[in-house]
């Protein structure tokens, strides 16, 4: 029942929004079509403006990933993460998560294949993936779109939040599913 409601929400949320907003606009006598195209006109420049920042971010992360540096990092951090109850299999995903959403989902999927999504490792990977975000990507795109170069304390704040999400994920998964 619960799952059914969730499915319906994810199914209908976007169509309902796309229906209701123009409908509301019409009742307020807004020229819906003209307003839509006027707003959409900015889509091109907005998306193109982020290309340099996206390229810099994805290229540097791509090189770092391909070089195998991640494995060294994982080996280096393993003693610490074992201490808090994180299986070392999950660690590469935890490191990948702030860098690349696709990369982290890839690692999670291979963990699902190897250990099963309902194993402790599979569940922990899921919780970690769901409770954190691709901090580097978001910062590059959002700040890039308005041409900001000095991001100040948003990077440490974002990474701190990711770390907190990861640690909570480990503890709570161990308590609930362990």
């Amino acid at each position: 029942m619960f799952k059914y409601i969730l499915d319906q929400i994810s199914l209908y949320a976007i169509p309902v929004i796309i229906l209701l907003i123009p409908l509301y606009g019409m009742t307020k006598k807004v020229k819906v079509y003209e307003s839509f195209t006027e707003g959409a006109k900015e889509g091109f420049t907005t998306a193109v403006r982020i290309i340099p920042f996206l390229t810099a971010m994805l290229v540097s992360i791509g090189i770092f990933r391909a070089s195998g540096a991640m494995d060294y990092f994982a080996k280096f951090a393993a003693p610490v993460t074992n201490l808090i109850g994180m299986p070392s299999e999950v660690l590469p995903m935890a490191i990948m998560r702030p860098l690349s959403g696709g990369g982290a989902s890839g690692i999670m999927n291979s963990l699902f294949t190897e250990y099963g999504p309902d194993s402790l490792i599979g569940r922990m990977a899921s919780v970690m993936n769901g409770s954190t975000d691709t901090t580097f990507y978001i910062l590059a795109v959002y700040f890039g779109s308005v041409g900001i170069k000095n991001v100040r304390h948003s990077l440490p704040a974002g990474l701190l939040a990711d770390l907190a999400g990861m640690i909570t994920a480990v503890f709570v998964t161990n308590i609930i599913f362990g």
Partner: protein
């Protein structure tokens, strides 16, 4: 950002060289550069769609109404944004899309929010405090329904793909609280001689 960028590139190339696999650096650099543009191109359509919808919402007064409704909470989180400013409505739409797990819709509203915040920013190449707070909350992503995650678990053959929802909600709430507190603490520490 400078250090991070240099660290990834230098670290990656040195380790690849040590492993005797410098060739992967070239491949990785070229494919990533290509995928950056591909991603931006895909975004053009999605961003256009949502910016169009957002403009309709703005003209009909919906964004203003939302901004007013959320004002008490946002006045505390973003003291530097004036009440009734459209940035608040955009931030709200971005965070709601994030909460429901619609990343595609969240990004355009987020970019719009950044443009609105940039209008209030006295130093155009430096992040304002409101931007830092917004991104701290955004990157810590409070998720009510992690729809993509549930779909991935289901396709991997999980017996109960949504069983992790409660735990995710708890962990993500913790990380958002840490983000808000962390942002406030670091902001106060960094504030020496700086006001924006």
């Amino acid at each position: 950002m400078n250090y991070i960028f240099s660290f990834f590139i230098l670290g990656g190339i040195i380790i690849a060289a040590v492993n005797g696999r410098v060739d992967v650096v070239t491949t990785a650099a070229m494919t990533s550069a290509g995928s950056a543009v591909q991603r931006a191109i895909t975004l053009i359509g999605i961003v256009s769609l949502w910016l169009g919808i957002a403009r309709v919402a703005e003209k009909s007064g919906l964004i203003d109404a939302l901004s007013r409704a959320i004002a008490p909470l946002f006045r505390w989180l973003f003291p530097s944004i004036p009440e009734d400013h459209p940035a608040l409505g955009c931030i709200l739409m971005n965070l709601s899309a994030n909460m429901l797990g619609f990343g595609n819709a969240a990004t355009p509203f987020g970019l719009k929010a950044m443009q609105e915040l940039q209008k209030l920013n006295p130093y155009p190449d430096t992040a304002s405090e409101a931007m830092c707070t917004f991104l701290a909350i955004n990157t810590s992503s409070v998720t009510l329904i992690p729809s993509t995650l549930i779909a991935l678990r289901a396709s991997a053959g999980s017996k109960n793909p949504s069983e992790i929802m409660g735990v995710v909600l708890f962990a993500t709430t913790c990380s958002t609280l840490v983000a808000i507190i962390g942002d406030m603490v670091i902001r106060t520490l960094c504030r020496k001689g700086r006001k924006n």
